[in-house]
């Protein structure tokens, strides 16, 4: 990854133009050709540095219901299997093992609260889970998953 790639990664996160020819516009800012921008972005996506280029939607503004759920699994041998069962719900967007009394944490973003509760109840019924805790949000202070690269 060279310094142009680094600038490009920052540029597409911070100032992506909603224009007819966005990649030409970005190229102009960085002093490179549109074709070079496309080639570099193609490579950064292939190698997984950039997951996608598109819209990041707000669950709240879309009227969806989201919450955070934690599980206590005593026998860690079951942990992977339980995690896979949770992953099967498309409404589960994030799912992590963490070093804590509650060792699995996942987020549910569903059409409504009823559907979210349904998912949580189904998960709670999986054998091997000794405790389920819910952490619904009271207030959102920050959501900004942009990761800037220090340009060299």
């Amino acid at each position: 990854m060279d310094s142009i790639d680094q600038s490009l990664i920052n540029e597409i996160q911070d100032r992506f133009p909603i224009h007819s020819r966005p990649f030409a516009e970005i190229g102009k800012r960085l002093g490179i050709e549109e074709a070079d921008v496309l080639r570099r972005l193609g490579y950064l996506m292939e190698t997984g540095v950039i997951r996608r280029i598109g819209a990041v939607f707000s669950a709240e503004h879309a009227g969806l219901f989201s919450t955070l759920v934690a599980l206590r699994i005593d026998d860690v041998d079951y942990l992977d299997e339980i995690a896979q069962a949770i992953n099967a719900f498309p409404e589960v967007t994030h799912n992590y093992q963490r070093n804590h009394f509650y060792n699995i944490w996942f987020t549910v973003t569903a059409q409504n609260e009823k559907r979210a509760k349904q998912i949580i109840e189904t998960v709670a019924g999986i054998p091997g889970i000794s405790e389920v805790a819910e952490f619904p949000q009271v207030k959102t202070y920050k959501i900004d998953a942009r990761f800037r690269i220090h340009e060299s």
Binding site: I18, G63, P90, Q97, R98
Partner: protein, 156 residues
């Protein structure tokens, strides 16, 4: 869930994924949804200003750019102080998410902040600075052991 027209739903389906890497990506999307390019641009801009689209652009995998350590930090903050403490924490660029969350009975850590750092040592330094600046000494660090799933929100 908000109500969207079929045409809007088609557009959302395309832009919640990745736009194509071609010179005229929005024209290509417009063609697929049966509207013209200007309509697509106007809809996206409208959704950005209305807040439905929080941001439009690149989504980067942080572990690919040396932000390999992720921790969910939870802080025992008196509810009267939570806004001011949250604003100090949210100001840090290493913090991607910050929420006030209601926990089960006996849970004393209402403020949640996701932190991304270059190393565990870097992470601990950030935490120390936050603790020093906010005066909050009671916190827990829940490091990621394994990532089972991480996807972008899809509306449909």
């Amino acid at each position: 869930m908000k109500i969207f027209s079929e045409q809007e739903r088609n557009l959302i389906r395309l832009i919640q994924d990745s736009i194509p890497l071609v010179p005229l990506p929005l024209a290509e999307i417009a063609q697929k949804t049966g509207v013209d390019e200007n309509t697509v641009i106007a809809r996206i801009n409208g959704w950005i200003s209305g807040g439905l689209i929080r941001r439009f652009g690149g989504v980067v995998r942080h572990n690919k750019i040396h932000r390999t350590v992720n921790v969910m930090s939870v802080w025992n903050v008196p509810l009267d102080d939570i806004d001011s403490v949250a604003s100090i924490i949210s100001n840090r660029p290493e913090v991607s998410h910050c929420y006030h969350r209601h926990g089960p009975q006996g849970w004393n850590y209402p403020l949640f902040a996701m932190i991304h750092a270059e190393s565990e040592e870097h992470c601990r330094r950030i935490i120390d600075e936050i603790a020093h600046k906010t005066g909050i000494r009671d916190y827990q660090l829940l490091f990621t052991v394994k990532e089972f799933k991480k996807t972008s929100l899809s509306l449909f």
